[in-house]
């Protein structure tokens, strides 16, 4: 899916030529690697570089929204062996921005990672790429070869005394590896089971060494931030929510796809950019930040702006910027059943509350959806989530719990109707028509 519309394109400046604009010469022609050259030729200090990133108030684009400059500053200066790792294990249902970033502009990610390596004093980096996007992994390998041949990677980059090399690590189908310590375990050649934190990766990361791990979009933003200056980048967005952000809009809109807009853009504007509601139907609900974020009803969402603070105030999370749009043809019980199955399937199994709880959630929602729900089931679901949230090593248990709690909170009457009437409030034929898979009038 090539780019359809943006406001103030930054990250997507290289996307307009689709698959014809990703290579090194295209990237250089639009000013690529100029920031790396400037840093090396002026011998910019690590402190100045990190200070500039801090000024931009760039917050982690993978979902947690942690300030990037601050994260970099946690890296111990004296450690001899350090790593930079990029998290392109994009498996959060609804999120597909990093795939397009890597497809249309892989060198922006590479330049961002090299600069990060310089800032934290690392000599080696890995980009962990989601298993299901093999073609993107291949392209990234090709982009790495180009960068290496041009002297941007390897020993004494561009004749400086800075050396940094970068490799791609291909995942093979495990949502949990999007969790940063699970990802590190996976690079080490193990099951991707998350580690206890603390110690955080800045102290004990890849191979037990200090490691900075950021999302793909975060790294890609770095060259642009340095090009325009941290303050100018911040001012593109709103206070405490710097810059522009990619939003992956999926579901019941006319033009699903990625849209880059400044932080603080009204949701209504984003919806309009995505072509509005499919078939002119009515908006019912939106999951604003990937499947792990609480769902919001239409009226609440229409009042939100797209930034960390506004969405948090409305009771959800901006997360990875995955906006899942649902119209009136959706049965909320069936929608939740599918999400609950996902967490049950993807729980890594090491913590009992998550391993067992995710199964309980799925089975109970499943029986409600299939007309076997019991009067006490909604309380039961909420009690199970109480026993999961905050009680596990990583946040997957919370991610499984948030949809359940929010779906029940905002759409309780639909769940109750299912339990009492053993059928759905939304007519099955209407549900069937909603997907757009069948041509109108076809059987």
């Amino acid at each position: 899916m090539a780019l359809i519309a943006t406001i103030n394109p930054l990250l997507t400046t290289g996307w307009f030529k689709g698959d014809a604009g990703w290579s090194l010469k295209d990237y250089e022609a639009r000013g690529g690697y100029a920031q790396l050259k400037r840093i090396l030729s002026t011998k910019m200090t690590q402190d100045d570089l990190i200070a500039e990133v801090k000024k931009s108030v760039l917050r982690g684009r993978g979902g947690a929204g942690f300030p990037t400059g601050l994260k970099w500053s946690f890296m111990p200066k004296a450690a001899p062996e350090k790593y930079v790792v990029c998290n392109t294990d994009e498996g959060e249902p609804g999120t597909f921005k990093d795939r397009d970033l890597m497809r249309f502009d892989p060198h922006s990610v590479i330049e961002g990672m090299i600069i990060a390596g310089y800032a934290v004093g690392a000599k080696l980096g890995y980009n962990y790429i989601h298993g299901e996007i093999f073609e993107i992994y291949q392209r990234f390998e090709e982009a790495l070869d180009q960068a290496r041949a041009a002297g941007y990677l390897g020993n004494n980059i561009l004749g400086s005394d800075f050396s940094f090399d970068l490799f791609a690590h291909h995942g093979w189908g495990a949502y949990i590896c999007g969790e940063e310590t699970g990802l590190l375990e996976s690079i080490e050649g193990k099951k991707g089971q998350p580690r206890y934190k603390p110690p955080f990766p800045a102290n004990f990361g890849l191979y037990g060494k200090p490691t900075t791990i950021n999302n793909t979009e975060t790294f890609a933003a770095i060259p642009f931030i340095l090009g325009m200056g941290g303050e100018a980048y911040l001012n593109l967005g709103k206070p405490n929510n710097g810059g522009t952000k990619l939003f992956s809009v999926s579901g019941h809109v006319n033009r699903p796809g990625n849209y880059e807009v400044p932080m603080g853009t009204p949701f209504a504007k984003l919806l309009e950019m995505a072509g509005g509601m499919r078939g002119g139907r009515k908006l019912k609900a939106v999951i604003p930040g990937g499947s792990s974020a609480p769902v919001l009803p239409a009226d609440v969402m229409m009042d939100c702006t797209m930034d960390y603070d506004s969405i948090a105030k409305a009771g959800s999370m901006l997360g990875s910027g995955a906006v899942i749009v649902m119209d009136e043809t959706v049965c909320m019980v069936k929608a939740l059943e599918r999400l609950s199955y996902f967490y049950y399937e993807e729980s890594c199994g090491q913590c009992t509350p998550c391993r067992e709880g995710s199964g309980w959630l799925y089975r109970v929602v499943h029986r409600i959806e299939h007309g076997e729900g019991r009067a006490e089931d909604l309380d039961l679901l909420n009690r199970v989530t109480d026993n999961m949230m905050g009680k596990t090593i990583c946040a997957l248990a919370d991610a499984a719990a948030f949809p359940v709690r929010s779906f029940i909170k905002h759409f309780k009457s639909e769940f109750e109707y299912h339990i009492e009437n053993k059928k759905c409030l939304v007519d099955p034929e209407i549900q069937r028509a909603g997907s757009g898979f069948f041509k109108v009038g076809a059987a």
């Binding site: 249902p93 298993g131 189908g173 495990a174 080490e188 991707g192 191979y207 579901g251 499947s291």
Partner: protein, 163 residues
């Protein structure tokens, strides 16, 4: 057995060496995921002996490689058809026809998820999020080829292409 990795072709071993070279010299195990993919590509699936061969080549315990092979969804620990089709049915895809696409394939091939057609040509799997929700319905062919916007016509075309 020390030398059981001779069941992998010299070409596969060369590819594995290329992966090993990405990591620090004392971290060969980091290449196990890639090595298992290379072995799976060569054998069609991953019998236990093949997993053990990969482990032996990388100097790991066989159980450590088996843990990896059984943890990640895209390793096939059972034989699969010549074409493994994985259809994403997760919510964002389902909103744009993912489940209907899977139903359509099931009906056309006469098999359910986790089944293989009698002629051994197709295996159907239910997939989790492939990170391409804007292209829904999406499908993977043999783990590596992603097919976007799979409406009935496109599915017909894909199935006809698979010889």
């Amino acid at each position: 057995m020390n030398n059981q990795y001779d069941m992998l072709s010299p070409e596969a071993l060369r590819k594995i060496d290329r992966e090993v070279a990405k990591y620090p010299a004392d971290q060969k195990q980091s290449a196990v995921m890639a090595a298992l993919v290379i072995a799976q590509d060569e054998k069609g699936w991953l019998p236990k002996e093949t997993i053990a061969a990969v482990a032996s080549y990388l100097g790991m315990a066989p159980i450590a490689a088996y843990e990896v092979a059984s943890f990640y969804n895209m390793y096939d620990l059972q034989p699969v058809g010549k074409y493994k089709l994985t259809v994403c049915t997760n919510l964002p895809c389902a909103l744009s026809g993912g489940v209907h696409a899977a139903d359509y394939v099931k009906e056309k091939l006469g098999i359910d998820f986790n089944e293989t057609t009698a002629d051994g040509k197709f295996t159907l799997k239910e997939g989790e999020c492939m990170g391409a929700c804007g292209d829904a319905p999406v499908m993977l062919v043999n783990n590596k080829r992603m097919c976007s916007f799979m409406l009935p016509e496109q599915i017909d075309k894909l199935l006809a292409e698979c010889e």
